[in-house]
């Protein structure tokens, strides 16, 4: 049980790296949350056995250490899960079929650029039929 728990714990940590791979990411946050909880469950069962039936099962000391690690990982994963999903509702954002608000913002060279200008032909390319506006958090 302790070994299964340890393996799950390692998998749980590694699962946080999946965002960098090309996997469909919609369910990933749940994987990141559930794996540490599962790992902790197995570790606790293993630790309970190690203490209750110490003639058969070993691992009182290192089991305790890994359980503490597991607890920390569950706490961190939960905090991260809640934090990453704490987003404003954006109920007033333009909906499909609605007109988007106009804007004029500086591009990365400091050139003021309006929404209408984004639809003009640029550097040999024909005028686009659509603009994909990608709002992101920024790198600060």
């Amino acid at each position: 049980m302790l070994w299964v728990g340890l393996l799950l714990l390692v998998l749980a940590i590694l699962s946080n790296l999946l965002y960098f791979l090309r996997v469909p990411a919609a369910s990933l946050p749940w994987v990141n949350l559930i794996l540490p909880v599962l790992a902790l469950l197995f570790l606790l069962i293993g630790l309970f056995r190690a203490f209750a039936q110490s003639q058969i099962y070993r691992g009182k000391i290192w089991g305790s250490v890994v359980v503490v690690l597991g607890l920390l990982l569950v706490a961190a994963s939960t905090l991260f899960f809640v934090g990453a999903r704490k987003l404003p509702r954006s109920g007033g954002a333009p909906q499909i079929g609605q007109r988007v608000p106009d804007f004029t913002l500086s591009d990365s060279t400091g050139q003021p650029t309006s929404l209408a200008q984004l639809f003009l032909a640029s550097s040999g390319a024909p005028p686009p039929k659509a603009v994909l506006l990608v709002f992101y958090r920024g790198y600060w």
Binding site: Y19, R22, P24, A25, A26, L28, P29, A84, R85, L87, P88, S90, G91, G92, A93, P94, Q95, I96, G97, Q98, R99, V100, P101, D102, F103, L105, S106, D107, S108, T109, G110, T113, L115, L118, F119, S122, A125, P126, P128, K129, A130, V131, L132, L133, V134, F135, Y136, R137, G138, Y139, W140
Partner: protein, 109 residues
Amino acid sequence: MRGIQENLQEFAAHGVRPVAICVDLPAVSENLRKKQGYSFTFLSDPQTEAIRRYDLLHKGAGPEEHDIARPAEFLVDRSAIVRWENFTEDIRVRPRAQQMLAAAESIRW
């Protein structure tokens, strides 16, 4: 962003011009573009004018509790009408380039 850059030709083939918008100053975005090799347009909204107009303000979520944009994507046609949009529920989950290309493909312009 990386996915968009890698599929820039496909976006162009679909007549779609990707544009990134955030609160970073132009110099910061230009630095990012150069470092990562992004060749599409980046717009700066440090005063969160457009971000607020699109109701995407995420109050105090930046460093030193600065306001930033929550992640969101809009596919807008030449009449400024939204044809497809996406609001993530988790900042770690963003639409893949393939997903956005599929959206562009499914629309009759």
